[in-house]
């Protein structure tokens, strides 16, 4: 099953390489990976989705903790969470399907962010399912190019996932 891991790491050169290399070396397959700053100076947040059973993920978590630069690892899979992915899709409008495209953009609550005579760029955010659904609908209409960010995730409710007390931050 697909697990969504949130990994807090020190923002230092080479840390992404260490994390990615660990997945390779322990033969785990990364489905998606995003990384960016947090509101805490020096701490970055990764969201990694990976396929595995609970045992695999438990082991992976303890391997991740062996990395000196890894501060915290949380598996959000079984918690209440929101997960979002963003896609940009460049689509051809030369085959008279403009109206149909706009209709779908409406239905999926996507956004048109660039328009030329022959093409549009559509931005869509949402769950993995929603975006995949939208892409399926767009495919026959002539996708020129597309890009997805991969999932970012957060636990629902008012608590912070981040427990820096333990790491003394």
């Amino acid at each position: 099953m697909l697990h969504t891991l949130v990994i807090l790491v020190e923002d230092k050169p080479g840390v992404l390489n260490r994390v990615a290399s660990l997945f390779r070396r322990r033969t785990y397959n990364i489905e998606s990976l995003t990384v960016g700053h947090t509101d805490i100076p020096g701490v970055s947040r990764m969201t990694i989705t990976v396929v595995g059973n609970d045992d695999h993920i438990e082991r992976l978590t303890s391997y991740l903790y062996k990395l000196v630069n890894v501060i915290q690892v949380e598996d959000l899979t079984k918690r209440k969470m929101v997960s979002r992915d963003l896609a940009l899709i460049k689509i051809s409008t030369q085959n008279e399907k403009r109206a149909e495209i706009f209709q779908m953009v409406e239905v999926f609550r996507a956004k048109v962010i660039d328009v030329t005579n022959e093409s549009l760029i559509i931005e869509i955010t949402g769950s993995d399912d929603k975006i995949s659904g939208f892409i399926d609908v767009m495919k026959p209409l002539g996708i020129i190019e597309m890009v997805r960010t991969g999932a970012i995730a957060m636990e629902r409710g008012s608590d912070s996932l981040i427990n820096l007390a333990e790491s003394g931050l």
Binding site: E10, G14, N17, R59, S62, Y65, V68, V70, G168
Partner: protein
């Protein structure tokens, strides 16, 4: 005080109480060597190859319990260290490797002798660093030593650019405030409830077996361990690296487990109702086929590294933390129990096989490696430090050199690195200059790092080198005999005259071809003030028994054919 980066490196080593380092100079670390003369309190040993230097520092660490330090220049100097780093990593040895890197503005441009050393060593170090700024040298080295020796120990590599070595800090001062790393948690303590749960399992077990691993030695928990074992009165099986955790002559110590473990030990494990794994990691060489491993046993695992618990073997209770502290907490809950029946079962199993032992065989004109090892043990003092290379002789030494004292047994377990024996013995000698030091090597592995004889000569140290010369890469030949139809492809090996080789280095060489000469040769080596190489010409096609073939279940052992042990005296 004004200090260059190179001087700061030495200052840090002094502060870490480093007495000896093993290093090799080159272009990128020349500033470090230039600054060395200011620090005569650190003895520098020049190996003949960086791999040798790395293994020396490793042997030093294993025997002294301190952090071993090895150094190399950029590029080929660093890549030559790689085998030594991986060896230390697999066996959790606290080490700091200092490599030099090309000047920071050249990094990334394929400069002369530039290699991505932190990239190469990423999966074989506990952690590594690239330092490009003189101000980062001290904090990084302090972290490196801290990480190397805390928690589950391991090698840390620090790659320092030449410009950082050459830059100056005007008002440098050593900082000895405690180190705190955000993401690094070496200290765990199990909950009292888990300790009590473990005690309850122990107290109700009828057929417990303790698996004693390297962690007992790394955690200096020998005393607590002995107390536990005696109180629980449970038989002990040793891992290859666990030897020395308790004396081989302790009545509860059954001997080595695993692929070349004693048959009664493996049978005891398979029959056990409780496995107590102490500071070991259920390597495939000790478990055999996991599906049939100690099937009826509950399992308790004491381990410092959380990622080892439930990795290979699912356990009922995992106690994660420092083994010395855990045993101190656990021991009071353990009830005394003599477990007579269970120990009787084991001693019956043992009695039956010991009579077939090759060392009990009368002299039949053949010289067997086991007999050589047995005689070295007989004639060497109790606290003798012994190192091995890798192969058949390593297993025979593990079986027959009954290790008594902690930190006197040095062997490459996890990586099985040929070429480890001789250099690790050199390092061991520096760690324990008063002890008699022996290394037992195969003719193959010895030649991988034989150049270090020259280091021995230069350092004028005394190490006794026993070459078990069977004219083959013996362990591989054994696999070819058992599993590849005796197709001895590339395992017969021609060697130089080891006696002359010793003499060429100004050392003493002795050749032994008969069993009757073994004792005199060992005594002669012991009496000689300098290092001695003994070339033991042993039986060429002997095999290590018992053997659990790779992937087989632990109780499925190939035993020594009885025809050998029953050969009549005057054959």
């Amino acid at each position: 005080m004004k200090r260059s980066g190179a001087q700061i490196i030495w200052e840090c080593l002094v502060k870490e109480n480093i007495k000896v380092i093993f290093g090799y100079p080159g272009g990128a670390n020349l500033p470090i060597y230039d600054a060395m003369r200011g620090y005569p309190q650190i003895h520098h040993v020049l190996p003949r190859h960086e791999q040798g230097g790395g293994h020396m520092a490793d042997g030093y660490a294993r025997v002294s319990g301190k952090v071993g330090v090895a150094m190399g220049t950029s590029g080929p100097g660093a890549t030559n260290l790689v085998t030594a780093i991986a060896t230390a990593h697999m066996d959790s040895i606290p080490m700091v490797f200092i490599t030099a890197q090309v000047t920071s503005k050249l990094i990334g441009y394929d400069a002369f002798q530039e290699t991505d050393v932190t990239g190469i060593t990423l999966p074989i170090t506990k952690h590594n660093y690239l330092v490009t700024d003189v101000y980062d040298i001290m904090p990084t080295l302090r972290e490196a030593f801290y990480i190397a020796k805390s928690g589950r120990p391991g090698p840390v590599l620090v790659d320092i650019t030449k410009d950082a070595q050459q830059a100056f800090i005007e008002d440098w001062e050593y900082d000895d405030t405690p180190i705190h790393l955000k993401g690094y948690r070496p200290d765990f303590t199990p909950a009292l409830a888990s300790i009590k749960e473990a005690a309850a399992l122990i107290n109700s077990a009828k057929k417990p077996v303790i698996l004693a691993g390297h962690g007992i030695l790394m955690g200096n928990a020998m005393k607590e361990f002995k107390e536990f074992a005696e109180k629980a009165h449970a038989p002990i099986a040793m891992t290859l690296l666990g030897m020395g955790a308790i004396s081989a002559h302790h009545p509860l110590n059954m001997g080595m487990m695993g692929m070349h473990g004693e048959s009664w030990v493996n049978h005891a494990i398979q029959d056990a109702d409780l496995i107590l794994a102490f500071g070991m990691r259920f390597d495939d060489r000790v478990t055999g086929n996991l599906n049939n491993y100690a099937k009826n046993a509950k399992k308790i695992h004491i381990e410092i590294d959380p990622s080892e618990v439930n990795k290979n073997v699912k356990v009922d209770v995992g106690l994660i933390g420092n083994i010395k502290e855990i045993l101190t907490q656990l021991n009071p809950f353990v009830e005394k129990n003599d477990r007579k029946e269970w120990l009787k079962v084991i001693s019956d199993m043992k009695g039956e096989t010991a009579v077939r032992d090759i060392v009990n065989l009368p002299d039949n004109g053949h010289l067997y490696a086991a007999q050589v090892v047995n005689d070295i043990r007989r004639l060497a003092p109790k606290n003798t430090v012994i190192t091995t290379d890798v192969g058949q002789h390593q297993m025979w030494t593990a079986q027959y050199f009954k290790v008594e004292d902690a930190h006197t047994w040095v062997t490459s377990g996890g990586l099985g690195t040929m070429g480890f024996g001789l250099p690790s013995a050199i390092g061991a000698k520096f760690a324990s200059p008063e002890s008699e030091v022996w290394t037992v090597c195969g003719d193959g592995g010895f030649q991988m790092t034989a150049a270090e004889l020259s280091t021995i000569a230069q350092e004028e140290i005394k190490v006794n080198i026993a070459i078990i010369n069977n004219g083959f890469l013996g362990m591989v030949r054994q696999w070819q005999e058992f599993f590849y139809d005796k197709n001895y492809a590339s395992t017969p090996m021609k060697s130089p005259d080891f006696v002359k080789l010793a003499e060429a280095h100004g050392l003493k060489g002795i050749r032994v071809t008969k069993r009757s000469e073994v004792e005199a040769a060992i005594k002669e080596a012991q009496a000689h003030p300098g290092s001695v190489v003994i070339d033991f010409k042993v039986e060429q096609e002997d095999s290590v028994y018992p053997m659990v073939p790779a992937g087989a279940s632990l109780h499925e052992m190939i035993r020594r054919p009885s025809s050998i042990v029953e050969t009549p005296l005057d054959e």
